[in-house]
């Protein structure tokens, strides 16, 4: 007889592991996570490790705010044996054009409406928050002191450990090769080892979500796009907040470990599964970082890497049910999946179990692309 499960989750990133935790906590007995490589080997473990609430769409700002509350007590909630390294030293978002400044004003009004403690500061105020910031050409900035950083590997491990304690199974180095669908209903999952019978499959495969979707006969509007990052040698704490400039396409933070993580967005990056590191990226990010934060020129780069954003057409996630009964999707996070995972995974668990979710997610369902109801997120770097 084939092996059976109540829910199979495809993808052992933060979303898959957090979902497994919430489902197991809600009493689902046989939750199985299948991961092609090892935990956090995809987008989660390659992300910039930032946690921000300063978003331009209400839903993202709300998801991020609720997720921050969960990051704050995650070590205790998940009874983690380590520390997820959550640090709340803020995010400083810089505006260099009037159009950006106008957008920031709208964003701040929206965020303040959600009680997110964000303020607008002038260039002098920005310099007080980051003394080594080059304010030439800066119009203004927005600052939220409760934004911050968490360690993506450890957050994923914390969720995975907690899920396992509650009875979930997590199998790494197991690749999904097919989805069994009969008459529009999910029946099982085929892996490189066996076939598993299950009535529920959740696609948390990140940039590979479209490949998994096709196995179930669905075309998901999610595509892979390489983003690169680098990390420097560790130094004494000198920069509290993450600094983002959409104009310079740069994000740059100092982690609790002391190293700086930074990346630039390349607007010409084509759709592909390429995760190779490039020399061009190093030069590009170095120029932007040294311009904006001049003392960083003395820091040595120790490592660079590439990873994939799972992009969606409106830069917002595709969440919830699909036209294949029992097949759910959580993908298209467009570079901000890690930071909203704590709340998003909880809502997803509620939707999978047919409960009333704490936030309605119809707007984020796959259906929206058929109707043209985009929920554009303007603040992606």
């Amino acid at each position: 007889m084939a092996r059976t499960a109540d829910v199979v989750i495809i993808g052992g990133g933060v979303m898959g592991c957090a979902l497994a935790y919430h489902l197991a906590k809600k009493g689902v007995k046989r939750v199985l996570v299948l991961e092609k490589q090892y935990l956090a080997s995809g987008a989660t473990g390659r992300c910039g490790a930032g946690v921000r609430q300063q978003w331009g769409s209400e839903m993202n700002a709300w998801l991020a705010r609720e997720s921050v509350k969960r990051f704050e007590r995650m070590n205790e909630e998940l009874e983690f044996r380590g520390d997820i390294e959550f640090k709340q030293k803020g995010y400083l978002l810089l505006a260099y054009t009037e159009a950006q400044w106008d957008q920031f004003k709208q964003n701040v009004a929206l965020q303040q409406g959600l009680d997110i403690p964000v303020t607008m500061v002038d260039p002098q105020g920005a310099k007080e928050i980051v003394p080594h910031l080059n304010t030439e050409g800066l119009i203004g900035a927005t600052y939220c002191p409760t934004d911050g950083h968490a360690n993506p590997f450890l957050v994923t491990q914390a969720y995975a450990d907690a899920a396992k304690r509650l009875g979930a199974k997590i199998e790494t180095f197991t690749e999904v090769t097919g989805i069994v669908v009969e008459k529009g209903v999910v029946r099982g999952v085929v892996t490189n080892r066996e076939t598993i019978e299950t009535p529920v499959v959740v696609n948390c495969a990140g940039a590979h979500a479209a490949v998994i979707g096709r196995m179930a006969g669905l075309e998901l509007p999610v595509y892979a796009e390489r983003h690169q990052a680098l990390v420097t040698e560790p130094v004494e704490p000198v920069q509290d907040p993450m600094v983002i400039s959409f104009y310079h396409r740069l994000y740059c933070q100092q982690t609790p470990h002391g190293s700086f993580i930074m990346g630039v967005n390349d607007p010409n990056e084509p759709e592909s599964f390429n995760i190779q590191s490039s020399w061009q990226f190093l030069e590009d990010v170095a120029r932007q970082a040294v311009t904006l934060l001049p003392p960083l020129r003395k820091l040595r780069v120790v490592r660079q890497w590439g990873g994939l954003y799972d992009m969606s057409p409106d830069a917002n996630p595709v969440l919830g049910k699909t036209e294949v009964e029992g097949f759910f999707v959580a993908a298209g996070f467009s570079g901000h999946g890690f930071m909203i995972a704590p709340m998003t995974s909880q809502i997803l668990a509620e939707v999978v179990l047919g409960e009333e979710p704490v936030m309605p997610i119809e707007k984020l369902e796959l259906d929206r692309f058929r109707h043209g109801d985009f929920v554009m997120e303007p603040s992606v770097v």
Binding site: F153, L154, A286, L299, R300, V301, V302, R303, Q304
Partner: protein
Amino acid sequence: MDDRTIICRCEDLTLGEIRELIARGFHTIDEIKRISRAGMGQCQGRTCRMLIAEEIAKVTGQSLEEIMMPTFRPPAKGIKLGILAGGGGYDG
């Protein structure tokens, strides 16, 4: 070598700590690197990589050749951001 021997000098990790991670089920260098930072420091694993591989091999019964090496990431040697930015000078 005993459990107090430093295996990763950059991140100050002992053999005992590495052995504990292997015992917990982390059986690849990549997983150990991500969970403990072993190999993420200045030397990028040049010291610890093979020592960790040997410990994994002992526990899993694999031969050293079967232990999957982590990705070797650029730059091969630390380079200052100022030099990459074209600022010139080796002490920029």
